[in-house]
């Protein structure tokens, strides 16, 4: 699936290193910078 600008961002809920589950929709009203990185121990 290829996303493009203007589309709705796919929703997700994922566990985080802060021990909380994070849902994208929790951040409505805020801009979100979503940074995918290949693996821990590499610079993001």
């Amino acid at each position: 699936m290829k996303l493009s600008i203007g589309q709705k961002a796919p929703e997700f809920i994922l566990p985080s290193h802060l021990d909380t589950d994070i849902a994208l929709k929790d951040y409505r009203g805020k801009n979100v910078v979503l940074v995918f990185f290949p693996q821990a121990w590499t610079p993001i």
Partner: protein, 194 residues
């Protein structure tokens, strides 16, 4: 800036925790796209066949729509400046205030407090060291001659030049040993330390 940074990889949570600890803590959430493996990466179209994701950045606006997409070469790190510009564009009201977030491109570099990017030989760095010590200010030095990532970071801040010293003071960037600007940024700390 009204923005939340979320990091995301296919690592499992304990691995992300250990990594964050090794970097002295990461203040934005690192999400684990471990199970079902890479499902979210896949839904964003950035899962590689090797099973981990590209380096990619999506900026999602307050309504949940995608406003910016950047998929990077594997070795190429995203530019903080570009991200800030994009965020300013989404958020013109806050454009006058300095960036409140430290963008995510460089979490393996120290951040928080006074970080001085310098070299072992530059005379201004020497003067800056003396200046900071004379004011009882603790700082961390990063040598850009030996740390290419740091050199790149400095170039991003300065528009391509290896200017030393360059300071990252809790996310505020001061380029060059600019005493006036340093005094301004360090006002609160100086008030505390005297």
């Amino acid at each position: 800036m009204n923005a939340q940074v979320l990091g995301i990889s296919v690592d499992h949570v304990p691995c992300l925790k250990a990594w964050a600890d090794s970097l002295g803590g990461i203040h934005f959430p690192l999400l684990s796209d471990f199970w079902p493996h890479g499902a979210v990466s896949q839904s964003y179209g950035v899962l590689r066949t090797e099973g981990y994701s590209e380096r990619a950045i999506f900026i999602i606006d307050t309504e949940g729509s995608i406003r910016y997409i950047d998929v990077h070469d594997f070795d190429n790190q995203p530019s903080n400046e570009i991200l800030k510009q994009e965020l300013r564009r989404l958020n013109p009201a806050t454009s006058a205030t300095p960036a409140a977030i430290q963008p995510p491109a460089n979490t393996s570099l120290p951040h928080g407090g006074i970080v001085m990017y310098c070299t072992g030989w530059c005379p201004d760095c020497r003067r800056a060291r003396v200046w900071l010590k004379a004011r009882n200010l603790d700082f961390i030095e990063v040598d850009i001659d030996t740390n290419p990532e740091a050199a790149n970071q400095v170039k991003q801040w300065t528009g391509g030049k290896r200017i030393t010293p360059t300071f990252d003071i809790d996310g505020k960037i001061v380029i060059n040993f600019d005493e006036k600007k340093l005094l301004e940024v360090l006002q609160d700390r100086l008030a505390q330390s005297t």
